[in-house]
């Protein structure tokens, strides 16, 4: 996983509530056995008009958002299915950071597994950023993970909270499984104790 330290990039605005993972990447793209190449499926249906042609109005079809690495959106982003294809597709499009007033739990968690930083800001701050993006072409933000800060071109800085363990893993690009494997002795001890208390939990599945 790529580490995330600081990011300065342009912002793409998706002004919708409750964006679910079925919209981020529809089912037909879930048949893959790979993690890569999912960009094509990103917001597949929303990118298109009823007749199937590309909708030039949709934000990701507008030339000015092609290079965006920061996604700005509304409450409850990523609700619904646990499909990790959603962060994979966003990453494939070039997004490394998502700003919203709230996220759905599983999606939020999946972001960290893929080097994407989901940032929760206050509703009023998100609103101000939407207004900034609408007012200025090429609106860029700087995200500083160590300082837990989002800085606007005008110099306004918004603080965000993040779990210290997640922050550290993302900042250093750590292999989460490798970290847990370092605790193998504790896991073995736990298993031994549990097996004597509740042996039915250790019956083989067959």
């Amino acid at each position: 996983m790529d580490a995330f330290t600081t990011l300065t990039g342009s912002v793409a605005p998706l002004d919708r509530l409750n964006v679910d993972t079925d919209q981020i990447i529809p089912k037909q793209f879930l048949k893959t056995i790979k993690r890569t190449g999912l960009r094509e499926g990103l917001f597949y249906d929303w990118r298109r008009r009823k007749d199937g042609s590309q909708d030039p109005e949709f934000f990701l079809n507008q030339p000015r958002y092609q290079e965006a690495s920061i996604l700005l959106t509304r409450d409850n982003f990523g609700c619904g299915s646990s499909r990790e294809h959603a962060p994979w597709a966003l990453l494939d499009q070039g997004f490394r950071c998502i700003l919203a007033p709230s996220f759905a739990d599983i999606f939020y968690n999946n972001c960290f597994q893929n080097g994407i930083l989901p940032v929760v800001l206050k509703g009023s701050e998100i609103q101000a950023l939407f207004e900034g993006v609408a007012a200025h072409a090429g609106y860029r933000l700087t995200i500083d993970l160590a300082a837990q800060q989002v800085t606007t071109p005008e110099g306004t800085a918004y603080h965000f909270d993040i779990d210290p363990f997640r922050k550290d893993c993302l900042y250093r690009g750590l292999d989460a499984i490798g970290l847990t494997l370092q605790q193998a002795p504790q896991i073995a001890q736990y298993e031994q104790r549990r097996r004597s208390q509740a042996p039915w939990l250790f019956q083989d599945v067959k």
């Binding site: 048949k31 609700c79 299915s81 499909r83 363990f165 499984i177 494997l181 042996p199």
Partner: protein, 467 residues
């Protein structure tokens, strides 16, 4: 010791290690695996040269992609076929038990776990699927994870977690006749909203919950995620133990007695505190129908499509307008006037034998309306077999329903069962997102009884008064 909630008891039993900041290494007892969210996890293991820690704690099944038509014919879609083949290969390589596509025990992952006695009270259970919350009906802590975490559990049998908050959803009283667990959970989501449970584990309590069968409790817990909660649970009781007893993977003999004695401790202690409490009266719950593109956009069948102009919040108004437009409805329209084209009875929410028995009892001797195409997809091969032994398939077929093989089918339309653009479906599944059942398709979530009545009348009817 301080009074504890059911959730706290199970959580504490599974802590391998807790850091001072609350980061916890949580032990996972059981792991369900399906074809869509696992290939990249197995690939990750291979690339890193890692082996599963306890392959015998996992059970795999293909369900999302499988055809629900004749299984003897090769799968028409080569990409689907490859994904299913990949699951087969991975299970063989890594030593994981698989119920293959032609195994009678194959079915939707959240139907087969309970059916086999794989799902037991007090366990931690995960799956790369958000509806893993279903298994909480047994008094287990069960939640959905992403593919990276699937790999994590395979490699370590653990997950790194922060302890979630707890929410009690208490439903007291008696449900109206013909109202079901599906109506209860839709009403709860209507009340708390689709993000109301974010960050929480819900425990469902109260007399109306205790009165539910295991099937009903599974329906309830299944849709916890639609309320934003990763997990929902119901404390186990005699109904739970009676359901589990004798199932193939359930403990037997002395081990059974020991297990039940332990499971009886799995209740929330008097005086234990939840972080949030929500209360509903069962009598006030009408049969529910979703009108929009999010499960929280729901009302009673005696209600109407809302008027966005009456909404103060601008974002909510926009979302409502958009949903009504997508659904091709008009504000103020009575729900009963909504005409439907298709009916889908199935999914991990409502495809168990009790659901099918109930659906068949309403379908018996009636005919599906000429304008409606209706199908029934059992949750597993064993549910299908049982239903056929009871003659339910004949009742459905005589009424004009199609009777299919087990799988996820039109719940997410990843196989060939798809809504056409503009088609409107009454569905017993759990998600009414735009395009969920096929691009441009329109989904109304309802209970099995409501779905049958809609199939026969061609539009929604109040099942409480339907003859």
């Amino acid at each position: 010791m301080a009074a504890q909630t059911l959730f706290e008891k199970i959580w504490n039993d599974h802590v391998v290690r807790a850091e001072p900041d609350g980061t916890t290494l949580l032990y996972i007892d059981r792991h369900l695996v399906h074809e869509v969210t696992s290939p990249q996890a197995f690939e990750g293991l291979t690339v890193a040269g890692r082996a599963p820690r306890r392959p015998a704690a996992a059970l795999a099944v293909p369900d999302h992609n499988v055809p629900t038509t004749d299984r003897r014919i090769a799968i028409a879609d080569p990409i689907s076929a490859k994904q299913i083949q990949t699951l087969d290969d991975n299970c063989r390589t890594f030593g994981i038990t698989l119920f293959g596509m032609n195994d009678i025990r194959q079915g939707v992952v959240h139907v087969i776990g309970p059916e086999q006695g794989f799902t037991l009270p007090g366990m931690t259970i995960v799956c790369g699927d958000s509806h893993t919350s279903t298994h909480g009906a047994f008094g287990a802590l069960a939640f959905g994870i992403g593919t990276s975490e699937v790999e994590h559990v395979l490699a370590t049998q653990c997950l790194v977690q922060k302890r979630p908050k707890t929410m009690e959803v208490r439903v007291e009283g008696q449900l109206s006749p013909r109202c079901s667990a599906k109506d209860v959970i839709l009403a709860i989501i209507g009340k708390i909203g689709t993000a109301g449970g974010t960050g929480y584990v819900i425990e469902y309590t109260g007399s109306a919950i205790r009165a539910l069968s295991m099937e009903g409790r599974m329906t309830l817990c299944n849709m916890s995620i639609e309320g934003g909660a990763r997990a929902g649970m119901v404390a186990p009781d005699d109904i739970t133990f009676a359901y589990i007893k004798g199932r193939p993977m359930a403990p037997k003999g002395a081990l059974w007695d020991q297990a039940v004695a332990s499971w009886r401790q799995l209740t929330t202690d008097a005086g234990a505190k939840y972080d949030a409490v929500v209360e509903l009266r069962a009598e006030t719950i009408a049969p529910q129908v979703t009108w929009g593109t999010s499960p929280g956009m729901v009302t009673g069948v005696d209600g109407t499509v809302p008027d966005p102009r009456s909404m103060g919040d601008e974002k909510l108004r926009q979302a409502t307008e958009r949903a009504i437009e997508y659904m091709a409805l008009t504000p103020g329209m009575p729900i009963r006037d909504i005409k439907i084209d298709k009916v889908f009875i199935g999914s991990c929410t409502n495809s168990r034998i009790e659901d099918l028995r109930l659906a068949a009892s309403f379908a018996k001797g009636k005919k599906v309306a000429g304008s409606v195409h209706a199908m029934v997809v059992p949750g597993s091969g064993l549910v299908k077999q049982q239903a056929e032994q009871e003659g339910l398939d004949r009742i459905f077929k005589e009424s004009g329903f199609e009777w299919r093989e087990a799988g996820c089918s039109m719940c997410l339309a990843m196989n060939a069962d798809v809504l056409q653009p503009g088609e409107r479906c009454a569905s017993t599944s759990n998600r009414n997102f735009e395009g969920r059942q096929g691009a441009g398709g329109r989904t109304h979530l309802v209970s099995p009884a409501m779905a049958v009545a809609a199939a026969i009348e061609g539009h929604f009817v109040d099942i409480r008064q339907w003859s």
